[in-house]
Symmetry: D2
Subunit: 333 residues, 4 copies
Amino acid sequence: MAIRFGLLGAGRIGKVHAKAVTGDAQAKLVAVADAMPAAAQAIADQYGCEVRTIEAIEAAGDIDAVVICTPTDTHADLIERFVKAGKAVFCEKPIDLSLARVKACLEVVRAHKGTLMVGFNRRFDPHFRAVRAEIDKGTVGEVEMVVITSRDPGAPPVDYIKRSGGIFRDMTIHDFDMARFLLGEEISEVVATAAVLVDPAIGVAGDFDSVQVLLKTASGKQAMISNSRRATYGYDQRIEVHGSKGAVSAENQRPVSIEVATGAGYTRPPLHDFFMTRYTEAYAAEIATFIAAMAGTGKAEPTGEDGLVALALADAAVKSVAEGRVVKLSEVM
Amino acid sequence: MAIRFGLLGAGRIGKVHAKAVTGDAQAKLVAVADAMPAAAQAIADQYGCEVRTIEAIEAAGDIDAVVICTPTDTHADLIERFVKAGKAVFCEKPIDLSLARVKACLEVVRAHKGTLMVGFNRRFDPHFRAVRAEIDKGTVGEVEMVVITSRDPGAPPVDYIKRSGGIFRDMTIHDFDMARFLLGEEISEVVATAAVLVDPAIGVAGDFDSVQVLLKTASGKQAMISNSRRATYGYDQRIEVHGSKGAVSAENQRPVSIEVATGAGYTRPPLHDFFMTRYTEAYAAEIATFIAAMAGTGKAEPTGEDGLVALALADAAVKSVAEGRVVKLSEVM
Amino acid sequence: MAIRFGLLGAGRIGKVHAKAVTGDAQAKLVAVADAMPAAAQAIADQYGCEVRTIEAIEAAGDIDAVVICTPTDTHADLIERFVKAGKAVFCEKPIDLSLARVKACLEVVRAHKGTLMVGFNRRFDPHFRAVRAEIDKGTVGEVEMVVITSRDPGAPPVDYIKRSGGIFRDMTIHDFDMARFLLGEEISEVVATAAVLVDPAIGVAGDFDSVQVLLKTASGKQAMISNSRRATYGYDQRIEVHGSKGAVSAENQRPVSIEVATGAGYTRPPLHDFFMTRYTEAYAAEIATFIAAMAGTGKAEPTGEDGLVALALADAAVKSVAEGRVVKLSEVM
Amino acid sequence: MAIRFGLLGAGRIGKVHAKAVTGDAQAKLVAVADAMPAAAQAIADQYGCEVRTIEAIEAAGDIDAVVICTPTDTHADLIERFVKAGKAVFCEKPIDLSLARVKACLEVVRAHKGTLMVGFNRRFDPHFRAVRAEIDKGTVGEVEMVVITSRDPGAPPVDYIKRSGGIFRDMTIHDFDMARFLLGEEISEVVATAAVLVDPAIGVAGDFDSVQVLLKTASGKQAMISNSRRATYGYDQRIEVHGSKGAVSAENQRPVSIEVATGAGYTRPPLHDFFMTRYTEAYAAEIATFIAAMAGTGKAEPTGEDGLVALALADAAVKSVAEGRVVKLSEVM
């Protein structure tokens, strides 16, 4: 029997998940809730589901699982409410911007033996997944060094940055999770450098727009991350893993892969414009994994614990920049 | 209001089109017909449409258009019946293996001012389409020479080849259409060489499995095609256009684009395994174009005439191999 | 002891060979001859050898081998003279533009048991050589289809074309040799199409500037060649071999291999500007092979016979275009 | 008139420079010195120069410049002696492993108004040079972030590491210089992480074999470096520059650039095996630059000062690893 879903939040990412749920033969979208009735109605119209309140979904007997796509500051509360209501929960990252709040929330999940999966979509990108599969197969031997490049086409509004927790907690957090996914061993040390080069207003808001991070595990595996809030050539998303027997990498993706040759040289088109087009397949695979987990044929990973550690790494990076030193993860956890 | 569809044929390609029609907000799949009731029922179940007979669809007042995915030898008859019934028709290629039959069919379409679009899916591949867009923009200047490589991962059963009209009419026909799409001028001359290298049984059946074709237009534009029924590395589909100001090409596509580096070198995975995965986007865009044409916002192209000319080029290639000479298209049309 | 060389012809390609001979520890450049004394003197000054007449080199006791880089219409006579004088001969292609004259010349070489190597430089390109090595290793299985793309950055002066024997004998001849090098079996059939698209004056001179050729061996191996006298993006030189177990290709080379990414896309610089820079390594390896052959550690290949067959293929292509049909090599040999 | 050279040191790198000097029309190799007479004699035989003692070269009236390729611990002394003797000096990096000794040496050079160029060969690689040229042209706008990957095919003997000053001073030093070359602004801060993953004996010797470095300038430009003493796929040498208007990168180079396609995927050969083959063109261009500088048509750069700063960055990295913190360059200079 199909898993019955409620969707909380009908914004941009909510629409992505609505499409993924309705496109999966093992799932059925039963209801959608949003503070903006028109947004919820649009999804209801397109996919033939009901508009309900969050409370109604919480109390519903015909809903097995929810996908939380509401604003960040509601995530932890909603996770707790729906876990208590006995629903499986898929929540967009982050769980919360406060490590203490995340820990408390995960305590509630554990206490209720709830299912919580956190939306680190990049783990489900087929190319990144294939990189991980090569590691698992032993192709590159022992993982030694990881290089992650992640650059956004443009900076978000300063208002967003103020709410987002800053570049390390909102953007680099994906790379922290990816580093963990690839290193296969917990990170113990973090050091970062940071600058404001793209938009001075970001600096005024107390944040950075161009950052570099080094990570290290207890056994000496290392990773480095390069982030910028600017990339004129599209959404730059690359990973590279170097190991004792070889290396494996995933290059950038572009929507159209032609090449034009003229006297000016050989030109390929720019990359995808941002995550909605770049990670289309990843979003679908992510929800499929959650559904499979509920159907008993997979694991609901990344977990709440993965969300917690990624946030802690972000906190450590913030501290490292402030104090000009290597910060141990144990200092912030 | 949505365009209402009937689907004739519920096999592999019928399923592809059923998904495309139901995924398009401007269209609605009303009914499906197939000689195998179970096949039709499976589609009806998945997409919530009715199972009907072909006759019922022909007579239906609630159907505006049909998609013909039945066996080749039924295409021309069905096109005529549904055009006479006032339905717009999308038909998988080819219209028929006999040039005379195709001409008679197109006469009926014209007489009834019918709408007929033929399924040369490759024109809708986003990469090939982008190649054509560069030509239209003038990036490469006047088109001078086209190179098309098309190799199947493996040979079809000899039974299929006997029914298919042979390699030129079943496989190269796509490349003939692509050459016309890219040259932008009618082809006037054809010459080909052919051999049996993959499967001797194909030779026994009177066909070839490895062929090369040269094409030329009246003004001297030229194209060349390399076809093989074998490619160990996947479905090899490349086009390249050389013009007075530059060149543009579309490289092969692979489902996963990672690269592994070891002492043995740098390795990327094989290509897509065949057309169903390689041309997923093309199939969707093809039906979207047909729907748009009916909605008045596009053209139902490639037309029946395009289907006719591609078949005539195949006939000319067969004749060229038999007679060891350049054959003018006017000799066979 | 070093092989002692005389150089006949001190033009552009003569300089290339002078550098190759003097850079080889097993060889010594003793003398140079040229109708233009200044040209000969320049080489003599740079490499510390003597200027002599052709007659003096012919009679010299201190010269073991000659490199012939004089105008084409002197090649056959000089080959005969120097073979008779007991010198090993390396001659730039072609031996002559007349098949009858080439045959007569090779007869003289055979009669005197002379050593004659012909300058098809591309066989010595490290990348093309590596392609051939993969074939020899069996990586691609039985060779089935070869695709050769060869485009010059610009058309030569019409005066040159009049003397050169036309595009098939002066430009495609390299591709005919390359096809033989890769197919590993003699070509039995040739068919070509041709047009004038680049420079009408070339058409007035009775030649073509854009040609396509199909080749076939007795067992059904096939090759196709695309040639143009124009390529805005540099010297386009690619080969591709498709076999029963796989394929192998050599891509274009560029002097600088960076990539610039901007909003306009990802751009790599144009290719090499022409053969002098593209085939630098090939020219050096070619002369090293000739020297090695004389030192008894290699073969003086390609031979005069290779030069003969390549010219015959060109003659067959000319005939094919004139008569609009497949021409057997046996018709022209 | 040609610049007359003395070569000090006839080992591996001495031979490279001997070839470069003798191949340059503006230079003449007059004499070579080496503690091993046979090594000096071999170069003298091949290039027709004399074997002399260092003292004789120092006193010679027929020598304008020297190339120092002797062991590292003799560099500073030889620079001082030859600058005092009025010769222009090209010295292999590093000048010395002690910052104080380097400073003293540069003081002597300045006092005698000597010419000193230091051998950071990578600045002369045509691809890296082209990257810098794009920066200079403004293609990428303001440089913001640099990523340098540098991995050796294998670890050197532990004996070498003991003498070399360790990975930061012997290997990363090239990347420090490259970062300065590309950033176009002095680096003010350094932080590094380091591990022993390749060879435990390296750890026993007090060094690391896998390191990561972050660099930052006063204005916030940043760079990151990934180094390993191991790379199974060849000599991994890449740079990438990200700026306000775009990015530019130089990919790895391989001696043979073919691609083999089979059921196992698409494979290109490994990279160059090490610096001698990878940087052939760079070594020649480096000496040509030194010669041009003496001929008054160029600059003798990188200078002794460049050598000093690169060493200071290495010292800062060592200190950063030891103290787990960001180190300012001013702390070590």
